[in-house]
Structures are given as C-alpha cells and as structure tokens.
Symmetry: C2
Subunit: 357 residues, 2 copies
C-alpha cells in the first residue's frame, strides 16, 4: 500500500474575488477522498495591489521565499492593476513566474460533454520571456516621447516550451487511448507565431519549436503552424480543430482569453504556471472589482486550477476526480453562478462540487 | 455643377487570389454611376513573393515611386509569405505602409441588416511602428541563440492614431444622425493596450490616446479602455458593445482577424491604409494558396476596400453606393461565394454587385 503524500500548498488570494475563490480551492483539496492518499497543509501568503498599498511592494520577498523553501505548489487568485500609472508597482504574478522559473503556462479550455460546439484544447504559453521581460525605456525627442520595449525569444526557452507542448499532446492521447471520449483522434501541436513580420524572434521560436517536436519521442504528434492573427480567426471559426497550441508569452496570453470566450465564461478557465517540480494553479480571470465581495464569483476556474496543479505535481488521479466533479456540476447545470446565467453563490457551487467528489 | 474628378489608382494584385480580386476592385470603380462625377485611370504595379522570386525584391522602387508621384490611391491584393526562411524577403505591405507614411489602418467589421447578432465596429490600427519597425538582432550565447526585437511606441504616432479614431467616431455618428439604422447610439472609442505589463510603451500609447481624445473636439465621444487579452474576450462575448477600437499595430492586427471571425468570413472584411491625402484599400484576407486560380475567391473584401479608399479620398457618396450594393447582395444571400456557404464564382458575385450599383 502506497504511503500518504503530504503536499504543502501556498495560498495567495491577491485582490478582489481572488479572496473569494482561493478558499474554494483549498476546500476542494481538503475534501479529496482518502483513496487519493493525499494530505495537504497550507500557508497563507501575500501579494497584489492591496499588499503594494500596504507595504510598498506587490510581491513581498517572504512570499517568494516561503514558496521556494516550504511549498510543493500554490494557488494564486488574481490581482488588481492600478488604473492610473503608479510608480513602483509591477505585476506580482509576472514576477513570480520568473523568480520561480515557472517556464510554462498551461491553459486547458474544454466544453463539457453536453456542449453543442465542442472545444477541447490547451494553450501552452511560454511564461518567462517575450515582451514580459519588461525591459523598457523612454526617450525624449524633438517630436515628443518615444518608448521602447524588448521582445526577447531564446532558443532554449522555445525548445523547452515546445517539449512541454509535445509531452502534453502525448499525455492527452494516452488518456484518450484509455477510452475517454474526445473530439480528437490524434495528437496535434499547433505552433503559433508571427514570423512573417518578426523573422528573427518569432522565426527562432518557430524553428526551435519545429526542432523540438521533430524528436523521435514526438513521432506520433502532428505538427502544424498558424500565424497569430490567423490563429485567433481559426480559434473562433473552427475551435474543434485544435488540440495543443504552443505560443510565445504574449500571444499565449491573448489566445487564452480568446479561447475562454468559446466556453462561455472566463470563470471556467484554469491555468497552471509550471516549472520543474513546482506548479502554481491560477484561474484565468482577473480580480473582477465589479462583483467583489458579493459572494457570486465563479469558483470553477480555481477548482480546475487546483486540479491542474495536482496534475503537474504528478497526481493525475486526484486531479481527474476534481475535473469529473466539476464537469458533473456543469452538465447538470442546476447550480451555476451568474456569469454562467445562473443564480448560485460561490458557496453553493463549491458545495455542489464537493458533494460530487 | 461640380466638375468631374479623375483619380489615378495603382493596382497591386500581389500573389495568389490577390490577382483574382483586384480586377474586381477595378471593375466596381469603373462601374460607378456618372452622378458620382468620378473618373478613374489605373496603373498596374508589382509587389509580392512572385515579384521577389523574379526580381530579388518584394517591393520594387518603381512601385513606390509610381504611387508617390502619379497616384491618388491604390488597391493592394495580398501577398504570400515564404514558408521557409528566405534571406532578403520582407513583407511589401509592411514596407509600403512605412514608405508612404500610411499611419492608420482602418478595418470596419459590420454585419448586414439581416444579422442575428449584429456587429458594427471599426478597428483603427496604428500602422507604422510597434514591433513592425522590424528592428531585430540575434545573439549567440552559451545557452543557444537569443533573438530580440524592438517594440517602439511614439507619443506622436499614438496621438495621431487616436485622433483618427476620434474623427472616425464622430463621422460614424454624423451618418447615424442622418437616420441610418445602427446598433449604436453614441460615439465610443475603446483604447486597447497592455499597460499592466508594458507600462512605458503601452503606457505611453494609453496616455497619449487619452490625451488626444480629451480634446474639446471629441467632447461627444465616450472613451473607454480594454487590456488587449480582455478585449479579445469581450470582442467575442459582446461585440455589439464596440464602436471604434484604437490599438497599437500588432494588437490591431490580431483584433481585426478576431473581429472578422464574427462576421463569418475574412472574405468580407476590408481595410484601408490611410495617410495624409492618400489611401490604399486592402482586403484583410491573405493570398489563399489553397483556392488560388479556381475563380471562387470572395471579392467582397476588395469591393469594400475600394469603397473605403474612396471614403478616405473624400468621396463618401461614391463609397456609400458601393457599400449599399454589396450589402444588398449579402442581404439577398442568393449569390454567395464558397467561404460564405454559397457556390457563386468571383465573377458571379461581382456581376451581382455591379448590377445593384
Ligand atoms: C495580469 C496580467 C499581468 C497577466 C498576464 O498578462 O500574464 C494575465 O493577463 C494572465 O493572463 O495571467
Ligand atoms: C501579411 C502581414 C504582414 C500583415 C500584417 O501583419 O500587417 C497582415 O496580417 C495584415 O493584417 O495586413
């Protein structure tokens, strides 16, 4: 009999509805059946705009250190951005991704069994470079200010992220091979770039991704390409055609919000920031100041993010239990939050999912 | 009685179906009724991948010079990009935009009267800078190659493009005020950026756009903002909420393909590259090698691009005639090309539109 594994999870609610959904993520982990042989301990950690206002930094060193030294994974809620330029503020999630070397951002977008136009894809977004290196400068010129930012693409990160995409395509195929119903028959990775304009940076991404996926290991995986503008078009016209989409950081950011629109609500879409042996689950939605404090935020993106985190910590079975419970809630469609056209509270949705675990 | 105006138009078919749709654009201009008091002369000009293969340059100087010296406007078809890295090749349309200072790319996306979910928006894309400055370099490092590209945003170009957006919002309102049916009641400009990550470059775009639109001239125009990822999401969820969207070059590129997906086919969506006193109409679709030479390309994007060009050359009435003829063809829905689910040839669609002029 396998021993029980104890995972220590950092909880970083952040701002706004992050504080309402992260507790839901904790509860679903605590409610996992004994058969999963998982136990959890939790540590509350600060980050976000409120933290910035209180302490002068949006990402306290203590948060990073605790994650680094004590934790196996984490759940991150959402953070508010200042609506006016605020000196010294910078996004804590972007910093966390870099400081913890979470080089892959994985965003599955999937309709449940009952959907009329089925979607079952995952966006694998490079998570550390591209314009997110945030190297910017501003110059005064005779014609006003001119600002520049660096878009950096490395061969190494591009090879890495393409391998993550390839591995995921194979993993998804293995699940299909066990008989799980799916709209896909074969594993496919679609490389997204804009090398028709950016021949060196996006050209390098494209070339490295092609090279990584040409490895014998990925022989079963079909590889295609889409220019990013055309990818957005195709995503909306023929979403069922896509399995795994791999993209540089910024395109991945944009594509995943686009894909979220296909399944009805950002409130359904999870993500995981993945590094070697560490993962942070993070709902794709923002801090939603408009509904903050009303107890009606959709917890599903966070519940699925907790599952995704487990998946990347090697606990695929426990993850599958959470996915199945969430899907059952959605298929029944009785207890839905307002973003889904229902009237259920965060609490009611969580209770319904826990009941189905 | 006003004198007849003669406009000299450069015709740049480019590659693939560009060669099938640009003749359609010429025909619709020639078929405009005498009452418009417009006459046209045409000059055929080279550009594209075939030109590159033949001459070693994708944009011959002669094309640029002729446009500069002789022409009032132009129609540009589409160009193919090489599918493998090709030394010396670079996109002629990107170069043309810069060399002719066509600083605005205007892309209206509109459903016709009969649509179930109506869309009536226009994307105003900055057309000369951002990552399209194409300043790239590649370095060899101990860990493989690293490539960098510059994203450049200037205060001047951002002020300019926001003014174009504001003017367009006012112009659209004037048309509505004459009683034209519309889903919009008031003029709205939505500024799109990613200043939560790119505080200097996109921060400058946002600030300059805000400043330009704060001018008393634009008092009637409401101004909102959307972060680009969220903009893509909203575009798909609530497209009817948007009137004029203004964006830096690359986001504008991506958003306009996304918006095109809303109206069923890229084959419907026109654009104009606009500078002071000069405009190039350009269908948003590409050279479509898959259907090249079969005579089934949808000419509507090009017909509308010809109208859009006229609009920016000050010929709003003539433009309105083309738009109305195209809309009538679509509303009737009898002669549609295959991308629209029909079986009509390019020729049949053009004939039907000309008949309605
Ligand atoms: C909040 C923002 C910095 C972030 C990003 O751009 O990565 C968000 O949009 C996301 O997708 O996680
Ligand atoms: C062909 C390409 C260089 C071009 C662009 O990115 O501007 C196209 O996508 C467009 O939108 O006109």
């Amino acid at each position: 009999m396998a021993a029980t594994r104890t995972l220590r999870i950092g909880l970083i609610p952040g701002d706004g509805i992050g504080r309402e959904v992260i507790p839901a993520g904790r509860r679903v982990l605590e409610a996992l059946p004994l058969s999963t042989k998982l136990q959890f301990t939790f540590v509350d950690l600060d980050a976000g705009f409120d933290t910035f206002k209180r302490t002068g930094t949006a990402l306290p060193d203590k948060t990073v250190e605790t994650l680094n030294k004590e934790c196996d994974g984490a759940l991150f809620g959402a953070v508010s951005s200042p609506t006016v330029k605020t000196a010294g503020y910078s996004s804590p999630i972007v910093a966390l991704r870099k400081r913890l070397s979470l080089y892959a951002n994985v965003r599955p977008v999937k309709t449940v069994a009952a959907a009329r136009s089925p979607v079952d894809l995952v966006i694998v977004r490079e998570n550390t470079e591209d314009l997110y290196v945030k190297e910017e400068r501003t110059m005064e010129t005779a014609h006003g200010r001119v600002a520049e930012a660096i878009k950096r693409i490395s061969e190494r990160a591009s090879l890495n992220i393409a391998r993550v995409a390839g591995d995921l395509a194979l993993r998804r195929q293995r699940v299909r091979d066990t008989g799980a119903p799916s709209i896909h028959k074969r594993p496919l990775v679609t490389i997204t770039h804009k090398s028709n304009v950016l021949s060196q940076t996006d050209g390098l991404f494209r070339e490295a991704a092609r090279k990584a996926l040409a490895d014998a290991k990925f022989q079963a995986v079909s590889v295609e390409e889409q220019i990013v503008d055309s990818m957005v078009y195709k995503l909306f016209r023929q979403p069922a055609d896509y399995d795994v989409i791999v993209a540089p950081n910024l395109y991945g950011d944009i594509l995943s919000d686009g894909a979220a629109a296909l399944v009805g609500s950002l409130g359904l879409v999870p993500s995981a920031n993945v590094g070697d042996g560490f993962a942070i689950g993070e709902p794709c939605h923002g801090s939603a100041p408009d509904i903050e404090g009303r107890g009606i935020a959709n917890p599903i993106a966070t519940l699925r993010s907790a599952a995704l985190m487990l998946e990347f910590l090697g606990e695929e079975e426990a993850a599958a239990k959470i996915y199945a419970a969430v899907d059952a809630n959605l298929v029944e469609g009785r207890l839905l939050s307002p973003d889904m056209g229902g009237t259920a509270t965060t609490e009611a949705v969580v209770e319904d999912v826990l009941k189905r675990l």
